[in-house]
């Protein structure tokens, strides 16, 4: 239960920011009624720290929490409209299996302004239910407004787990929500499964040198962030429908403390490209110099693919950072990944091993990259790659 101490000076700020109208003035002090969802939006508005939400220490009644939730991140499309970031579909696909095993509903959380047109798309990827929160204050992502909305939704509807994308937005939002609600959060998961009714979260640590399985046995909801391109997307089911739960959460603009002055979108940014490419030709230290990478670019062009690079190659300045594949770069899972002159440090492998087909070309027969390759070619990429590009060109002509 939320408490208001006699420190209250009657400023009325909390009454204004409460999304649920749960706070009201009685005489010169604020009071709380039963509409309070413990979302915490009022706490930051109080300048004298008179409001407090005592935490439940010890175990909570975890059986009261049901439903697998996916937070849907929206991206600015080229036409200025919002679109669902593809990771949303991947998380719904992963969540579908977990929900089925637990016999719970799969729910998408859609927060924005004029976004209800996306609901059928979410249903086609398996969402049984969509929690829809729309208003003009939620047009763009903001830490303060989105965390208030998420805390409010979770406190009210009590899901058993919430999955977030491990992106700039997801990694900004999820820890705030988990901290506020005193529950567990596991970062950058590469595997999710159910163990004794709990969410078993698998993640790499120590630069990918070890894997850890993490549980959150006594708190709910269980929360995790998952990288793009790790979970396989199910094919969408045309005509699927979801139950829509529209939740009205008004946002007072005074709760938004960090304001965007300007957005600088880098047109030549490579992340999207290697993120979404079907074919990636990637190079490592073995490509030696920029000329070596030029050979890879020519091959990538021929295969309609993008060029990736290992950390070693990035460190040598052979490609800009957005092209980096690996744990400290981007995780990719293209149909075809051709690794040229890459030894296969574990930090690189965790970023590409879920690719459908891996072809590795390396002079050293003992290179670790061969351990994850379906096809291993022992030889010098400098000699093989240009000849392969040539052969592909000739094939096209013929």
């Amino acid at each position: 239960m939320l408490t208001i101490s006699d420190e209250c000076i009657g400023c009325t700020k909390c009454v204004k920011v409460c999304p649920f109208g749960a706070l009201f003035m009685e005489g010169k002090v604020a009071k709380v009624n039963e509409s309070c969802t413990l979302c915490g939006a009022c706490l930051q508005s109080c300048s004298v720290n008179a409001i407090d939400i005592p935490r439940t220490i010890g175990t909570v009644d975890i059986s009261a929490y049901k439903g697998v939730w996916v937070f849907i991140e929206l991206l600015d499309a080229k036409d200025g409209k919002k679109q669902i970031r593809p990771i949303g579909h991947e998380l719904l696909s992963a969540g579908k299996g977990l929900a089925a095993e637990l016999k719970e509903e799969l729910c998408a959380v859609l927060i924005g302004h004029h976004v209800s047109g996306m609901i059928d798309k979410l249903a086609s990827y398996g969402a049984d239910k969509v929690y829809l929160v729309e208003n003009e204050m939620l047009q763009d992502y903001n830490t303060d407004s989105f965390s208030a909305v998420m805390c409010a939704l979770v406190s009210q509807y009590k899901p058993s787990m919430v999955l977030y994308p491990s992106t700039y937005v997801g990694r900004d939002l999820a820890p705030r929500v988990a901290t506020e609600l005193f529950t567990g959060l596991t970062a950058d998961c590469t595997g999710l499964s159910i163990k004794n009714g709990h969410l078993l979260q698998t993640r790499p640590a120590f630069g990918g040198n070890i894997m850890a399985n993490i549980l959150c046995p006594e708190k709910r909801p269980q929360m995790a962030t998952i990288r793009p391109n790790v979970m396989k997307k199910n094919p969408p089911v045309a005509g699927a429908k979801a139950v829509i739960v529209t939740v009205n959460i008004p946002i007072d603009k005074s709760i938004i403390r960090v304001k965007t002055v300007k957005k600088l979108i880098d047109e030549s940014h490579g992340i999207e490209k290697i993120d979404e490419a079907k074919v990636i030709v990637s190079g490592g230290r073995g490509m030696k110099d920029r000329n070596g990478f030029k050979l890879l670019e020519e091959l990538a062009d021929e295969l309609n693919g993008a060029v990736g690079a290992s950390r070693a190659a990035i460190d040598m300045g052979l490609k800009p950072k957005p092209h980096q594949v690996g744990q400290s770069g981007t995780t990719v899972s293209p149909t075809l990944y051709i690794a040229c002159g890459i030894s296969g440090a574990i930090q690189h492998l965790v970023g590409m091993e879920s690719s459908d087909i891996v072809i590795a070309i390396n002079k050293n027969p003992d290179a670790s990259i061969f351990n994850v390759a379906k096809y291993g070619i022992i030889g010098d990429a400098h000699a093989i790659v240009p000849r392969l590009t040539e052969a592909l060109k000739n094939r096209k002509k013929a």
Partner: protein, 262 residues
């Protein structure tokens, strides 16, 4: 202006090796370093301190040997250094760590700006910075690469998908920093190490120095549990080919055809 810089001592994960027989981490001989993201954030804090004549306090949490990184920060120019170390903090996940750090920051008292690295290279979670911000009800700006202070306002350049964003916020605020790609951390001279040791001893804080609910600390205050730790599973080795470049090209064309890429 008062700045608090959060730092962590980590094993240099780029030098961690795995025992090929047992599959366990070989930690022996792996040097401990100041987490590079925190190192960069600390350098930004020192820069702001010089520009604005601010007071800089560094705060770390860890085993007693983590005093090394607090001393390093003091020799680099921090005014005050605190290490939170107590057996009661052992086994903390990011929730309990954020709580403990936040309680220590409440004890430190006044501050305008808290800086931290975006993540530590041993856990790679990026959760502790936002966790501390939420515990303290502070606004946060994550993944920053440039900071500027104008009066009461902090202006930051931060990463967003596909580019950058310039944001501003009235302080106090907590910012987490990414680091530039070719970042070479600065280290203090022998003289400044010596001077710091004499003039600015690191303060060691235990549970007694902060007001904390004991049930929210360490293992007990951590919602997450490690179920199992194991080496990454290696896949079965695929087919290997060896021969002249032109033979290899023929095989590659064959593979691309079979896999229906061409």
């Amino acid at each position: 202006m008062e700045i608090i810089s959060l730092i962590k001592q980590v094993p240099d994960s780029t030098r961690v090796k795995v025992d090929p027989v047992t599959g366990t981490l070989i930690r022996a001989g792996v040097p401990s370093i100041l987490n590079p993201y925190d190192h960069f954030a600390l350098e930004q804090a020192i820069k702001l301190k010089k520009e604005h004549n601010a007071k800089l306090t560094v705060l770390s949490m860890g085993p007693p040997q983590a005093e090394e990184v607090v001393r390093l920060a003091l020799s680099l120019g921090a005014d005050r250094g605190i290490l939170l170390s107590d057996r009661a903090f052992a086994g903390s996940d990011t929730w309990a760590t954020s709580y403990t750090l936040a309680q220590a920051i409440r004890k430190i008292g006044k501050f305008d700006l808290i800086l931290a690295g975006m993540m530590a290279i041993d856990g790679d979670t990026a959760q502790t910075g936002p966790g501390v911000a939420q515990q303290l009800r502070l606004p946060q700006i994550t993944f920053c690469n440039e900071l500027k202070v104008e009066g009461k306002k902090l202006i930051a350049k931060k990463l967003i998908e596909g580019g950058h964003e310039i944001v501003e916020c009235i302080m106090p605020v907590l910012c987490t920093m990414i680091m530039p790609h070719e970042y070479h951390p600065s280290y203090p001279s022998f003289m400044s190490i010596y001077k710091a040791q004499v003039e600015k001893p690191a303060e060691l804080w235990s549970l007694k120095n902060i007001d904390a609910e004991i049930k929210l600390l360490g293992l007990e205050g951590s919602p997450t549990r490690v179920d199992k730790i194991y080496p990454p599973v290696s896949k079965e080795k695929g087919t290997m080919y060896n021969g002249s470049p032109s033979e290899m090209v023929e095989i590659l064309i064959q593979i691309l055809k079979e896999e229906e890429v061409i």
